[in-house]
Every structure is written in structure tokens, then in C-alpha cells.
Subunit: 324 residues, 2 copies
Amino acid sequence: MALSEFELIERYFTGIGTSRDDVILAVGDDTALVAPQTGRHLALSLDTLVAGVHFPVDAPAETVGYKSLAVNLSDLAAMAAEPAWLLLALTLPQADPDWLERFAGGLAALANEAGMALVGGDISRGQALTVTVQVAGYADRPLRRDGARPGDGLYVSGTLGDAALGLQLWQGGQREGSDAHSLIERLHRPSPRIALAQALADLANAAIDVSDGLLADAAHLAERSAVAVVIEPHRLPLSSALRRSASAPQATTLALTGGDDYELCLSLPLDQEGAAKALARQAGVILTRIGRVENGCGVRLISTTGETLTYARHGYNHFPVSSG
Amino acid sequence: MALSEFELIERYFTGIGTSRDDVILAVGDDTALVAPQTGRHLALSLDTLVAGVHFPVDAPAETVGYKSLAVNLSDLAAMAAEPAWLLLALTLPQADPDWLERFAGGLAALANEAGMALVGGDISRGQALTVTVQVAGYADRPLRRDGARPGDGLYVSGTLGDAALGLQLWQGGQREGSDAHSLIERLHRPSPRIALAQALADLANAAIDVSDGLLADAAHLAERSAVAVVIEPHRLPLSSALRRSASAPQATTLALTGGDDYELCLSLPLDQEGAAKALARQAGVILTRIGRVENGCGVRLISTTGETLTYARHGYNHFPVSSG
């Protein structure tokens, strides 16, 4: 690298995000120093994105910067936490100033929007572009995974399956047209549901973000809460772009198993549904009931007539959406 | 991978470190939850180690686990912080159960010794083995880089240059004999100077850890404090193993420019030297005065007779230790 790690951090990663009263010392010393607000709990998370694994190697630099923070904010959202600080570890094959500037721009845009400050960083050389972001936020009323109760309704925010189809379109070079554009945008720029989660923190019993696909993440919720989760695939919220771009069975399969949507899956008492939907509308997000929580274990899919649907767990492309 | 990320985390990275009152929820939800002790500031840092860049590709798994935490603890030490929590992001070419178990063992050993709890983690697939650790600690009396004052003495803990020669020996396959063993051990298992830093927090004006080499790190201290740092190379503390294994000029070059020692470089008032050395002895670490802080800028080397020595900044192997 022509520039040292120190110079790269000085040039591209100093002063990113908002100025915060609880930050004493940001980038530039051995560690950052922060002063947590008295009596508040902190939610801590970190996630790594590897080029070619978590994002396409040809993804625009801005979107890599944006998404590396977004996936972490989604974890904070799933805890109904209020974003505060982030640290960044960047491993680069080479230091391309243009790429770094655009990466930093994408990261800064979302950090500003979320009211966070970048307080620390580490840049190192390595063969594969790898981005690790660590975030901290205040979690006063955390929405854990283990609070779902039999009788709850199961809900998701926004629409599902868009990012998975967006990835297929991007990889296939089908990037033209407004539907492709909006699906690819969902892949590159997921919207962490911070405001929604804070609005629902008092109503919901449990939450998880949908990063690995609804079936996988609902299974985590079920396991942690020691309950059964029943999903009605015909209720899954699908975007117009997805409906127009995929067959109905394909769209449902993507919504059940596609990752990267970063919507929230919430469990909340059925009698709170009206209040929850009103709060969601105020937060600018659609909330859809997709099933319910029961005694038992695991995830079950049922048809419109209440019959159990079977599916091949590891054969996502051959997922049968007709009743089994 | 035969095991999912979820299963790997459950099996290898649950319950690592000590149990702490300020940890509400560790590995297993969307985020960890902690309850920072009231009124205490937090020091936050993260560092990435890439196989083949920051450690040899054939380094034993235990030492990779140990060192990935040690380099972060060294940053906490440089702030005189008290270790509390860590998060781990691991990128693996494949999930080798034996490797993971030994890696986790090395990490756990140091986490226990430091009184830390592992509260969160992320495991992903990628071509290059990459380990990012993020640490948090309580920093009540932080030792910043910007506090060095003209008139201070400049000090280092322990001995310098060992890890750099250890790396040469490891790479050259010269791993036999007690000197090689102890130098390589210094490379693989650096000792973060947590106890020393806490003991000196009230006496010292500034500190930095020596990770990139003394010259580079002293330059950071000088820049941040807006002072000149004068180093007397003949005062540099060298281990017996280094003296026996390298020529005198080579040993001095390694001590000035070799990275990975993770000792502390401290600036403290000369009249506190006796007290500081006594506290260091109690902490089991040798403290050596290697120079002084003056008005001006940059780093200057002087001979035993006070003459300025010249050196080729980027030609470490050709570093002239005789007076210039």
C-alpha cells in the first residue's frame, strides 16, 4: 500500500457519523473512549461481510459500505436498541483511494441516518476484501429471541424474498428495468428496522431479524422460546416487483428461504395486532401477520385450509408450495 | 461446512471466559446485552489478524486464538483499561473441528486470565483465515497518546525485538533450542501489560503499545502529543535470548523496528521514575528508560555521547547503529 494504515484511517475514516455527547475520544488513539449513559444497557453485535460470500465481488463500493453497517443495525433493531457507536475492521487486497472514498461515503450516509459515530477502526492487508463492523446501542427494553408465547401472532415487517431475487438478477446481469432495480436495491441497501422495533418494543414478546431466510430464523426463534412456530405461506408479504418478476411458487420459496432481507420477524399477542399495525404505519413500515405461535417445537407450514405442508429442508429450489 | 454457523458457535464459542455480573445476555441472541457499571468510561478497540499477514499460516491454532485476543488486550493496556467483554468474528476457509477447538482453547485461556467474557460472535466462510476481535474495558484513568510533556522520560516495558526475531526463526524453520523457543513464544504469546498499565495510570502522562515497532509507535506518540521524542538505542532493553541469537547491530535494529512485541511505551515525569519502577517490579515487569521527551516534533535517535544518529526510515535491515 502506498499509504500506511494510519494515513488511510486519517484520510477516509475520521469524523464519520454524527457527533455524540457520549463519545469522549474517537479514532486516533489506542482505543476509543465512550461514556455510556447512566443506567442504560448496551446491545453489542458484530458481523463480517466477505466479498464473493456475503456480497457480489462487483458490488459498488458505496453499497458495501452501506450494507456492512446495515446488517449490524438490523441486529440492533432486532433488540429494539438505539444505535450509538460503531467500529470498523477492513481487510483489503489493495488500497484503492477511489474505492475507499466511496466505501466510506456509503458507510457515513447510514451512520448519519442512524445517529451513530464511528469511534474506532483497523485496516489490514489481506487477499480477500473483508469488512467487519461492530456496533453498540442502548437497549432499554430489549426484544429477545426467547420471549415468544403460545397464542402470539407471528409478524414480519416489509416484504420478503426481494433481496434473494435481487442477487439472482445481479449475478445474471439482468440489471435493467424498474423491477430489477428495486429488487437489487433491496439486496444492496437493506433498511434496518430501527424505528419500527423501538415503536413495538413494549408490545412485542420476541423478535429476530430475517438474515438467513424466514424458515431458518423462525426456527431460531422457536428454539430459543421453546415454542412451535406455524407459518402460513399464502400470507407472506411479497412486493409487486417480486410478484411481477417470479412465478408464484418461486416467489413464495424466495420469501421463505431467501436471506438478506433484514426485515424483522416479531411475536406479539394477537390482541395487540391493531395497535402494533398502527405503530408500524407511523414508522412507515407494513406489518403483516404470517402465522402464529403454539405449544410444541420447530417450524410448521400450513395451507389456507389448515393442512400441514411438507418441504425439503435443504432443497430450497424444489420447495413444494402446493399442499402436501 | 458440515456444521452451520449457529452450531459452530454453540459448540465452540459458548461460555468462553469468566462469568461477569455486568453481562446480561451473551452468545445466542441477535446481540449481546451488557450493563456497564455506573459512571465508568469504556475503552473500545478492535483488531484483525489475517493468516499469512499477521501470523504465520502454520501457526498453532491455540496461539492464533491467544494472540487474536492478546493484541486487543494490548490496546486496552495502552489505555490503562480493565478488560470486560469481547466479541469475535471468525472467517474460515473450512470448519475443522480440531482447529476450532484448539483456537477456542487458546482464546479462552487468555479471556479467563484477563477476567473477560466472550459475549458475541460471528462465523463466516471465506478464502483466508481472518480473525477480528473487539474488546471493551473500563477506563477510569485513561492513558492517552496525547499527554506526553517535554521533560518526561520515555520508558518501555519488558524487552523489545524478540517477536521480530521469533518470526524470522519460525519462518526459517529454526525452532529448536531454548533461545529459539523463548523468542518464538514471544511472537505467538505476547503478554498484554494490563497490570502494569493500571499500576502506572496515575504516574504516566501518555502511553502507546508497541505493535508496529518502537520507531513507528513513538512517532505516533510524538505526533499526538506535539512533542519530540528522543531515543537512546544503547538503552533499549534486549533479552538474553535476543543478545545470544543476533549480532548487536541486528538486535538493536529489531528492537527499534520489529513489530509484534506488544510492550508499552510510556511517557512519565522523570521524578516519578523511582516510584514507577517499583510499581512495575510489583507487577512483575521490568521498566526501562530509553529516552526523553522534548519540545519539537518527530523521533530522534542519539548516541551515548549525545550525537544524533541517522537512519534510513524504510531500510530497516540496513539500519546504521553506529553514530552518523
